[in-house]
Amino acid sequence: MGLLEAPLVEEALPSCEFFPVGLDRAKRTLSFARIGPEIYNSAAFLVPRQADMGKKAYIFNIDDLLLHARRNPWPTARIHYILISAFCCSTLLARYLDQLGTVLVLKEPGIIAQLGILKHAHSDLTPNLERSEWKEMATLSLNLMSRVFPAQQSVIAKPSDFGNLLGEDLLMHDLRSRILLLSVPLRTFILSVLKSPRRRNWVRGRAKFWHKNVARTFGLEDVNLARMNDAARSAYIWIVTNCLWMALRRHAYDGRVLTMNGDFISANPSAALHTLLSFFDIQVQNEDIQRVVESDASSHHSKRPSEKYSAEDRSLDLSDWERSYGREASEAVEWARTFAAGVGLGIGEGPFAELSRAHAN
């Protein structure tokens, strides 16, 4: 994207056509892409490299935005979040939600991931100043996520797994918000990674990031990533994710947190949608859910909508992956059981780690 002079702050801030795509803490700038509802709808990831977000970047001094937001706060729609383990049918779920039409769905907005990463990055500021600066950037960014087009009443944001770094911050930001934690059983997660060289690469990078930035917080630093295979690294990431969710699951925040097995979405989308929409307090008719479930989202690949792909195809794929990588996955699950026990987590057949009594209280 090329740099261009920005439109007026007062023009850009209240309109969700201006979507924030990049925070630069050192320069104190926030850049926006200008996108219409069709891009929100079609993009699997709302980041400039992965979606057609135009060639222009509109760059603002963050302080101008903060000042304008203080003087002219815009009404924010209710926003809910889907926090994910990755490879858990979350894009499929987002595609279903897109079809409803009354909800603005933000699929993997890069800015939430950036906030998560920045929370753990350090600048030359004092820790207090750093914290307060981060907080105001987070407030501004999350308010920018809460703007809707006229026909829509609420927002559902599905950040990438980096969003898990923000769990409690998201609930504190807006007391109306709720969070769905979406995951798959560890074995499914590992198999979903091993089947694809691109995902294996992703896992190598993520494992390094988590190890460097958050492992110490949870007592997970005692691993030698260089000597682990991709299956074990996948298991490591799954455990880190469960640690990041621990506080949300432990406190449950008066029913503001729901957990769901990602397999449920592909196996029984209608029931999954009923459960989720009722939890998010979003009113829909049964016919709407029926329409959504019978749409192309059910029969096409969620990340590559031009390819046909159904729940049956996924089930066949899983059997294939089991045949090819089953032994590797079994070894990784065994390793994970021992490793997770060290931090008080149990690993069973379910989509989430079991909290020990100490964690549950």
């Binding site: 002079e5 001094n61 302080d63 101008d64 003087r71």
Partner: protein, 208 residues
């Protein structure tokens, strides 16, 4: 970079007035020779004027006797993004040290012809401080007299009763002043020339 507080008005003789002027002066900070390289900023303005013409760069603002006295512009019409970011980061650094403020809004830019101007910029902003940065031409050192008038409550418990105190300082090119946002400033150009791009440009924004 040197820091000073503004000099109280000479003509104030009464002790109470002195005290008020001192209080006013203590709320106005002047950072002399603020930027290490102010000329690249100036060069962009001069280049833009040379390339596009003055009227495309600044628009006439306030008038005195029918003659435009203040010309206004916004920075994106003149300067590159990078140079503005750098200026703002320097302003933030000064504000952090001096005022414990770490936010700076993008400045509005004003240029003056000649004479004296009261440039009122109060509004309903929640920012407690303002900054003004003065940028003259590369050659010559034009100066400007700035008087900052501040209104203060006489009794803390009765906000309606106020009095005004003033601090005056002489600024030159590449000076930055920081002062309370509730103040009203008046600027008197001491430059003898009427050529706009040879005069001082003033960058003015909010701090908090």
């Amino acid at each position: 970079m040197r820091t000073e507080t503004a000099v109280p008005l000479d003509q104030i003789t009464q002790p109470a007035a002195h005290a008020r002027a001192d209080r006013a002066a203590s709320q106005v900070f002047v950072e002399r020779e603020f930027l290490l390289d102010p000329f690249s900023l100036r060069a962009q303005f001069d280049w833009k004027v040379a390339r596009k013409g003055l009227s495309a760069v600044v628009q006439p603002g306030l008038t005195t006797g029918g003659v435009p006295a203040i010309f206004r512009s916004s920075p994106e019409q003149i300067f590159t993004h990078e140079i503005m970011i750098d200026l703002l980061n320097q302003v933030r650094k000064a504000a952090r040290t001096r005022l414990h403020a770490s936010h700076a809004s993008t400045p509005q830019i004003a240029a003056f012809q000649e004479g004296s101007h009261t440039w009122v910029e109060q509004d309903a902003t929640v920012a407690p401080w303002r900054y003004m940065y003065f940028l003259g031409p590369r050659h010559g050192t034009p100066s400007m007299v700035v008087t900052i008038s501040m209104r203060e409550a006489i009794f803390k418990w009765f906000a309606g009763l106020t009095r005004t105190s003033s601090a005056t300082t002489c600024v030159a090119s590449n000076d930055l002043i920081l002062y309370r946002s509730t103040a009203v400033q008046s600027l008197r150009s001491e430059a003898a020339t009427n050529i706009l791009n040879d005069q001082i440009l003033v960058f003015s924004g909010w701090l908090w």
